[in-house]
């Protein structure tokens, strides 16, 4: 059924959907790369920095592109004209993951940024491990969001 609905999607929705999906893939890819690199860094300062830069240079732009695409397709599909109680669950899950997730991403970037700064004086590894934990939580949340957005439960 979802496939048929997708086939009926007007062409004018495709580009905003591409922007949204491309941003989401960058975001998830950046989070995965950052988490993988930081998790295997142990005490390697260069690797801890690399993990943080993956979050800053890949995941953050991905989040911005994903969120712009989300709002664009939301308006195109006319969801903004519906009352809140008619908004389906999958859309609510997507917005929750995008907005709360964006806040968590911002916190992890600030915590990680302080961690990277402190690496110069031999500290900061603990803060970067906290960034790793937040990245893994975000990854899990975005897996649920991707499942909700593509499976469209409810």
């Amino acid at each position: 059924m979802n496939g048929l609905l997708a086939a009926m999607r007007p062409d004018s929705w495709n580009f905003p959907l591409l922007v949204h999906a491309f941003g989401a893939m960058l975001l998830v890819g950046g989070l995965f790369a950052s988490a993988g690199i930081t998790a295997t860094a142990r005490r390697d300062v260069g690797f801890l920095r690399l993990g943080y830069w993956a979050l800053l240079a890949v995941a953050l732009p991905g989040w911005v592109i994903m969120r712009i695409g989300a709002q664009w397709i939301y308006n195109k599909e006319g969801w903004d004209e519906l009352p809140d109680d008619l908004i389906p669950d999958w859309l609510g899950i997507g917005f929750f993951a995008a907005d709360v997730g964006g806040l968590v991403l911002l916190v992890s970037l600030i915590v990680g940024g302080i961690g990277v700064y402190r690496l110069r004086t031999g500290g900061g590894a603990g803060l970067l491990r906290a960034t790793l934990v937040l990245s893994v939580i975000l990854l899990a949340a975005y897996v649920v969001a991707v499942w909700a957005m593509s499976g469209k439960p409810g």
Binding site: A24, M25, A33, W53, A54
Partner: protein, 153 residues
Amino acid sequence: MLALHVLSAFSLVAGIITFWVLIVAVRRTDTPEGTLRMGPVSRLANAVIGIGMGGTIILGIWLAFSVGGYDIWDWWILGALVLWVIAAALGQRAGNAYLQSVKKAQELEAAGQTGPNAELLALNRTSDGVVLQVLVSAVILLIILDMIWKPGA
């Protein structure tokens, strides 16, 4: 099933992005230890690429047969299958290009040479590997465009 198919695509792209981060990082690496340090992350990236490639093709074919309105011989589905095969072949060649530097790093380490090595740096900066990775990324982007626009559907 569609959700799992899309999650597989995300897994594949996550692996490709991780390799991009490693490709950028390894360009400044001239020691065997630094090169081999990328091993655990690259194995992780390979694993999610494997899950992504397998999941997208198996679930994609299953969806083509099970979802009404679509057929396996639809042009956009045939196009995606051809692009998937091209991406797999290019990805394997990209991996082989970077395997040269891993082998060199292992040889140097076995010989007790732990310092910077110009030949290793040159292998880590392989232009073939970068070009192949660009091509893989472009083909995957084409598949995403094909999946969204579904030309001919």
